[in-house]
Symmetry: C3
Amino acid sequence: VTTFLPSGIVTLTTDFGTADGWVGAMKGVCLRVERALVLVDVAHDVPPQDVACGAATLAVAAPEMPPGTTHLAVVDPGVGTARALLVVVAGGHAFVAPDNGLLDEVVPRLGAAAAWRIEAHAWLPAARSATFHGRDVLAPTAAALAAGRLRPEAVGPSVAWAPRPRDGDTIVVRYADRFGNLVTSLREPPPGGLVLPDGTRARLVRTYAEAKPGEVVALMGSDGYVELALRDGSAAASTGLTRGARLGDAP
Amino acid sequence: VTTFLPSGIVTLTTDFGTADGWVGAMKGVCLRVERALVLVDVAHDVPPQDVACGAATLAVAAPEMPPGTTHLAVVDPGVGTARALLVVVAGGHAFVAPDNGLLDEVVPRLGAAAAWRIEAHAWLPAARSATFHGRDVLAPTAAALAAGRLRPEAVGPSVAWAPRPRDGDTIVVRYADRFGNLVTSLREPPPGGLVLPDGTRARLVRTYAEAKPGEVVALMGSDGYVELALRDGSAAASTGLTRGARLGDAP
Amino acid sequence: VTTFLPSGIVTLTTDFGTADGWVGAMKGVCLRVERALVLVDVAHDVPPQDVACGAATLAVAAPEMPPGTTHLAVVDPGVGTARALLVVVAGGHAFVAPDNGLLDEVVPRLGAAAAWRIEAHAWLPAARSATFHGRDVLAPTAAALAAGRLRPEAVGPSVAWAPRPRDGDTIVVRYADRFGNLVTSLREPPPGGLVLPDGTRARLVRTYAEAKPGEVVALMGSDGYVELALRDGSAAASTGLTRGARLGDAP
């Protein structure tokens, strides 16, 4: 669904942390556009400039929100360069984000997408900083969209949007979550389990509780990817594997 | 007060952290049930699977909320096992949480409690993951309760609820807070102070300012428990004491 | 503008962290005063008792909020001592905070200020703890102000307010942000760049992208202060500089 009927809900996903004032500045910009917007924090402790982790976070959270939600997402290592800023509509949701892969996980889950490059519109401030496009471009765009005062097609020219291609045959660790589970790139449960780089096999189980103490197992995670997990412990610490480590399908 | 008149406010307390998308997913589920719910973050950095810390956090925060609030609390090391999921009503508040001790501190503060085990109701999704009951069971139950579309007694059978028994005579460190204060299990100010495991005595003072530089003191904390504190420093780091350490009443 | 027309928005900025229940307790107190208040988290991971960092966070976030906003700010190492608690109105915003320098950055950005010391009013609880004035004094004051049920001049006697004097000629590192950028006390871009304590020069650039790999540069930050930055890295880690380090204007 590439039509967008705004509900007034704006989610925020950033790597800004929760010590500095940047998140608050973006919220202020939104509330200056429309006091009645509903601001919903998704996550602000995405590791700094970690676009892949931000993409995974958005993919877990955004599809659960009601259609009509506007998602303001800022993990933007390229701020100050020529990378585009986008509005992407998919599944009745609108995303406002830099064009750097941050939407690559979530948008394909929502179906067909339409996209526009943010160039100029009435809600942008005349003066913009070189280092904080989240506050100066993305936040006012998201707020005006969510408030129904700006249409996606009014932000700038229509552009083609597609996720960056991925190596579909390789199984890799995508990221470690807070509990030390290693979330992989595999979407189908591997009947024989997964083979770790050191040759050991992690068998497939259905819940954490089926694992033996100290055993690293593979199981289907709640967001649709296979995970490596250690019962009552951290699979990341136990295996030493990090982002990008290659895994094998067990025969 | 075991009647519940929902106000539309839902608080969230979890160990999910603020980097991943799980908190956002639960918020999305709530807003899909009812867009007008008011979502209030209490704390998401409860240490992973630390039920005792989560219980203390809830006990500090939840009683301050207005009656009619629904509290969604997820610290759930037993996800995937047979532990029950509960709705507990006390003091006009409703709690939606796993049955693992997470409510043991807060509910007794609010008076008589009534409880139900969540088994089946119209707001649960047909398909549920094995690893994320927060999103698939607890969030839709909390949202429907808060929106007044589900009554507590409609979630499943009534069950007896009581906090797990504790050793009432032993004084222990319950947890260290962010400032390094050691919160104990003692509710009455000890006139002679507390005796640490190494035999030193922490005298009782009324405010941090009464302590001498470098002196570990005992004082009544704002949530009704005696704390060990170090002025301008961390009592936890200074004493080396951790959760469960035993303390004595000074004669 | 020293008149205050409350909008019902309350922002929260604290050093309470996001594991314990204190933030939730303050939110509960606010919602008990008025359920329709809009609570906006600015930041809760200000380093414990770091008033200077809290002041910088407020200065970045608060001016972006719409006039009529009430800002509840609690970084309060002096709790339990005789330090005053204040309501300060500037630029149409109201601040409720301890009188310890926490407002020194933000209020001067908003123009003329009027201030009152909180002594007694109808919204304060009869019993107050010695250690949690955020919950017992500041939160009910902020909520009643934001709800339009209490006027600033009704909280206590009018007092003169001015920021603590600073050494205007010295350029120092004020704090390191989450990305390792070193935010300085300098408000004007130095044409010749900045000189670090070891004598090396950081040249002035306009965006992070103009820096060479590995080069520490000076640039105008989005909040109006000159920063030292390292492209794709942490200037704080690279230079070893910390809060208070002295810098020089390059000739």
